[in-house]
């Protein structure tokens, strides 16, 4: 996404995850001239690497009542403004024989206190409404959990921001934040593809860079201590369950199973990692096996379900400012006004929180930005539907945003499928490629789910690479194809059992034995060296 760049904006938002997208929408809707910059692609970070659970808040009710209240409030709002991103599956908190029923009682009580509907049902009823659930369960709590598509949610927010005049730049990294005395006045952006740099004046800079927030803060001369917690998840090849299944116990590993699209996601683990390791998204064989061993207790069918891949995300938790040891996590949303905290004016960091509360986080950050710019405009994001929520786009749509919103569009005649697993059409891919030269396989994947199905790109990768040849040249297209294969392989390696290894072997037969891609790469690499 490369758009015309002005030399000055009211707000510059750093980070193209769901939070940044939400802030951009809010700012643009309140009439500020808005620039959103993302160093990679939209949803590159934790937004694209979670389980897509739309919390009812029940998960936090026992430990953090305020957090739970925020969750259920936002849950209700998203059900109104982002209907196309939400699948109201409902959720169960199941108690197995080894689980403490006293915890169930506490959960129900806390839920009621937080305003969350929570109803205890017996084992027979639970099995009736969710046949996949572990049949040995004692009883369950029915809550309004749901499944949400983080990609679609982010894209819809970005689209609405653009419709309200915002500029969105992907593959642009903030490399410097300029200060005049103690006031932030401008940022320098680097185009990560061309290397070109440009300076943009900013009224306010909002740091919504998720786990990378501390690095952005550093550019403004501000110390921010993050406590990254890495979570591993498994993507299962089919939809085992129709409702979200949670384990009714203190939060532990592998106690959530979320149905999403044609697949379901089993999560998660939680491990503190040093800040240097936040780019490492690999999952170990042990983590994957542990997730499965525990996950089977939620729904036994998991044992016979193919694991498509393993992936990990990093939760952007902030260290509590009141705690001198820097080891305690600040709960909930952190909306930091750096003029109060560090004496740096016109710089705001918005982090912590959850995907669920992205809108509220955006509202808090935008309120603060308004105050700094002396604007008196009210937030309307809670009452204004996102594009796509009220009506689906028609076949006349021409931008990729419409495709992400409108699945029915795909059923147009004479529109061949490139990715047969996920039903991605030729026109969809061509439109996205035509809009933007810099779209690589991974960006296509995030927009269309291309290559995310059972064959993990074996059938569609070559077809899409062909489409890239005209613009990028054969060598570049070939390199992107191999990068994509490596990216898919990274997620498959921790779970190389059964069908996953079978697919990997067939992919090797097609691309190496039959096509000789490994031989071609030798010459491509050689030319690069020369």
């Amino acid at each position: 996404m490369t758009e015309k760049l002005l030399s000055q904006y009211d707000v510059v938002i750093v980070g193209g995850g769901v939070t940044g997208a939400g802030v951009a929408r809010d700012c643009a809707m309140r009439g500020m001239s808005t620039l959103l910059v993302e160093s990679h692609d939209l949803t590159y970070g934790t937004t694209g690497r979670n389980h897509g659970l739309m919390h009812s808040g029940a998960r936090y009710a026992v430990t953090d009542l305020e957090n739970a209240r925020e969750c259920i409030e936002e849950n209700k709002i998203l059900c109104r403004i982002a209907r196309h991103c939400v699948e109201p599956t409902g959720g169960l908190f199941i108690s197995l024989p080894e689980d403490d029923l006293a915890y169930q009682a506490r959960l129900v009580e806390s839920c009621h206190e937080a305003g969350i509907n929570a109803e205890v049902i017996d084992a027979a009823e639970a099995r009736r409404i969710e046949p996949a659930v572990n049949p040995t369960l004692v009883s369950a709590v029915l809550v309004p959990d749901a499944s949400i598509d983080p990609f679609k949610l982010t894209m819809s927010n970005v689209l609405d921001a653009q419709l309200h005049g915002a500029t969105v730049l992907t593959y642009h990294e903030v490399v410097a934040i300029h200060r005049d005395q103690n006031t932030v006045t401008a940022v320098t952006l680097r185009d990560n593809l061309s290397g070109e740099q440009k300076r943009v004046d900013a009224g306010v800079v909002i740091n919504a860079a998720g786990i990378w927030s501390c690095l952005i803060a550093k550019l403004a001369g501000v110390e921010l201590k993050m406590l990254p917690a890495r979570g591993a998840l498994l993507l299962l090849g089919q939809r085992v369950n129709k409702m979200v299944i949670n384990r009714c116990r203190k939060p532990a590993n592998a106690d959530i199973l979320v149905p999403t699209g044609n697949v379901c996601v089993l999560g998660t683990t939680s491990r503190r990692v040093p800040i240097e390791e936040i780019e490492d998204m690999s999952v170990t064989v042990e983590e994957a096996q542990m997730l499965l061993t525990e996950g089977v207790k939620l729904a036994p069918a998991i044992a016979h379900t193919r694991v498509l891949r393993a992936y990990a995300g990093v939760r952007p938790l902030v260290a509590d400012d009141d705690d001198p040891t820097g080891r305690n996590v600040s709960r909930g949303i952190s909306c930091i006004d750096h003029s109060e905290r560090d004496g740096v004016e016109n710089f705001i960091t918005i982090t912590g929180g959850k995907m669920m509360t992205y809108r509220l986080m955006a509202q808090m950050a935008t309120d603060l930005a308004c105050k700094k710019l002396h604007l008196r405009r009210r937030c309307a994001t809670a009452t204004t539907s996102l594009p796509g929520s009220d009506n689906v786009a028609t076949s006349k749509s021409t931008t990729w945003h419409d495709f992400t919103i409108s699945k029915p569009w795909r059923h147009d005649k004479n529109n061949r499928l490139l990715c047969t697993c996920e039903g991605v059409t030729e026109r969809e891919v061509e439109t996205i490629l035509n809009e933007d030269d810099d779209v690589d396989f991974d960006a296509l994947r995030r927009r269309t789910r291309l290559g995310m199905g059972p064959c993990q790109g074996r059938i569609c990768a070559c077809r899409v690479a062909r489409k890239m040849c005209a613009r990028q040249g054969e060598d570049e297209a070939m390199k992107r194809l191999v990068n994509f294969m490596n990216e898919r392989w990274k997620g498959m390696r921790p779970v190389t059992w059964s069908d996953t290894l079978s697919e990997a072997y067939n992919t090797a037969l097609v691309y190496q034995d039959l096509c000789g891609v490994d031989q071609i790469m030798k010459t491509v690499k050689k030319e690069v060296k020369q």
Partner: protein, 420 residues
């Protein structure tokens, strides 16, 4: 039901073994749950394309002597000498001749009387434009004597609605090899088969020869024309007779036309020899007594209708077709639970670069010098393994898949025949 030999698997190795045995008068049954990896067959036959360092091999039969001692070829050499490999290669060569060459399209490079030792590798053009060393090629397929195409000219014709022929990469590959390339679009009237992408074998069944001929006549110049392999051998032979220039095909992405045709021909040949083929039948388990297989249970033969034979051959392939299965804690052969050569630690099964040699591709069934399998360390006297299910084939890296399949199958067939 009782047979002399039961072969499990109907890919290249299983069918080769079954045909060789049936030719010698054995009563043979084949359990054919599918077509193995034939749908990914390029059409050419690789014997040994690269050595273990990845260098191109010019004389495959000479290079076989330098392979790792654990490689199936090396086992044959160790037990019977190089002469046996040459003899098997000659046998495979004449089988391939009978299978894929009509007498009139005989290329001149392959004769049943020829010494296999003198056959040097050619370079087959892959769908994505690589030039890979190969041993034998059917006449219509595109291959070259050298990987350098300096001074040569080609027209690459493609059919746009067929998306699994990556003409851009193909043309670029030829250019990189030094050739001048022009791409042209073919206009064919092929009925759409719905929204799914057209598949090669579907196109092959349509009679498009005339339309194609007319267009090819219209192309200016006299350089060779390369077309996607979406036409059957028959149509290609006709077309080549009428065009005075050479028309040759390049394989498409799977399912390939060559694989489809080869599979059909193998089955037809086997049937014509009186063999029994159980289509869609999958072997499930076996009764083993005194280190011998007594009978086999399959998806279509259970209870009082178990399959029995004097000898059994397992040719059920590698991971891709589930002849081997990766489980949480180990790699297993799912029908008999045979002894396996594999690494214990799942972390060591793979490496991070997807294109580098993946250790798991070398896993397979453990066999003795006669390719007999074993279970719990005890040799099963009458169960042999052939083809990709064998361990240490390195077939993707060495480009020896068809060679390993056919030579081990023929070796085992000969072994069974020698015994009786």
């Amino acid at each position: 039901m009782t047979y002399d030999v039961i072969v499990i698997g109907a890919g290249l190795s299983g069918m080769t073994c079954a045909i060789a045995l049936a030719q010698a008068g054995k009563r043979v049954a084949v359990l054919a749950p599918g077509h193995g990896t034939l749908p990914m067959h390029s059409g050419c036959f690789d014997l040994l394309g690269y050595d273990s360092d990845g260098n191109v091999v010019e004389h495959p039969l000479e290079a076989i002597g330098h392979l790792d001692p654990k490689h199936p070829y090396s086992k044959i050499v160790a037990a019977h000498g190089m002469e046996r490999i040459e003899q098997l290669a000659g046998q495979a060569c004449s089988m391939i001749n009978d299978l894929v060459f009509e007498p009139q399209d005989y290329a001149g490079s392959i004769a049943s009387s020829i010494q296999p030792r003198t056959i040097t590798n050619q370079y087959r053009l892959t769908p994505m434009g690589a030039l890979k060393p190969t041993w034998l090629r059917p006449i219509h397929l595109t291959a070259f004597k050298t990987p350098c195409l300096e001074g040569k000219q080609f027209v690459v014709a493609h059919y746009k609605p067929y998306i699994d022929f990556p003409v851009e990469f193909l043309a670029e590959g030829l250019r990189k090899a030094g050739a001048e390339v022009e791409t042209k679009e073919l206009m064919l009237n092929i009925t759409s088969v719905g929204k799914a992408a057209l598949r090669a074998p579907v196109l092959a069944s349509q009679e498009q020869g005339e339309a194609l001929l007319k267009q090819l006549d219209g192309f200016e110049g006299q350089c060779p024309v390369l077309v996607p392999h979406i036409f059957g051998d028959k149509e290609l032979t006709e077309m080549n007779e009428r065009l005075d220039r050479r028309l040759s095909v390049v394989p498409t992405l799977p399912p390939t036309c060559a694989g489809n045709e080869l599979s059909t021909k193998l089955r037809a040949w086997f049937s014509s020899l009186g063999g029994t083929l159980f289509e869609g039948d999958r072997a499930m388990s076996a009764t083993i007594k005194n280190d011998r297989i007594m009978s086999i249970k399959s998806s279509k033969h259970v209870a009082h209708d178990l399959l029995q034979a004097d000898h059994y051959v397992i040719a059920s392939g590698s991971f891709g077709v589930k002849g081997l299965e990766a489980r949480f804690d180990r790699v297993a052969e799912p029908i008999f639970d045979l002894d396996i050569d594999a690494l214990d630690d799942p972390q060591q099964w793979t490496t991070s670069d997807v294109l580098s040699l993946q250790p798991y591709t070398n896993f397979g069934v453990r066999t003795d010098e006669r390719f007999r399998t074993s279970k719990h360390g005890r040799t099963i006297e009458n169960l042999y393994a052939v083809g990709s299910i064998l361990s240490n084939t390195s077939s993707i890296k060495l480009a020896c898949r068809q060679g390993v399949s056919m030579l081990t199958a023929l070796q085992v067939a000969n072994g069974i025949l020698e015994q009786d």
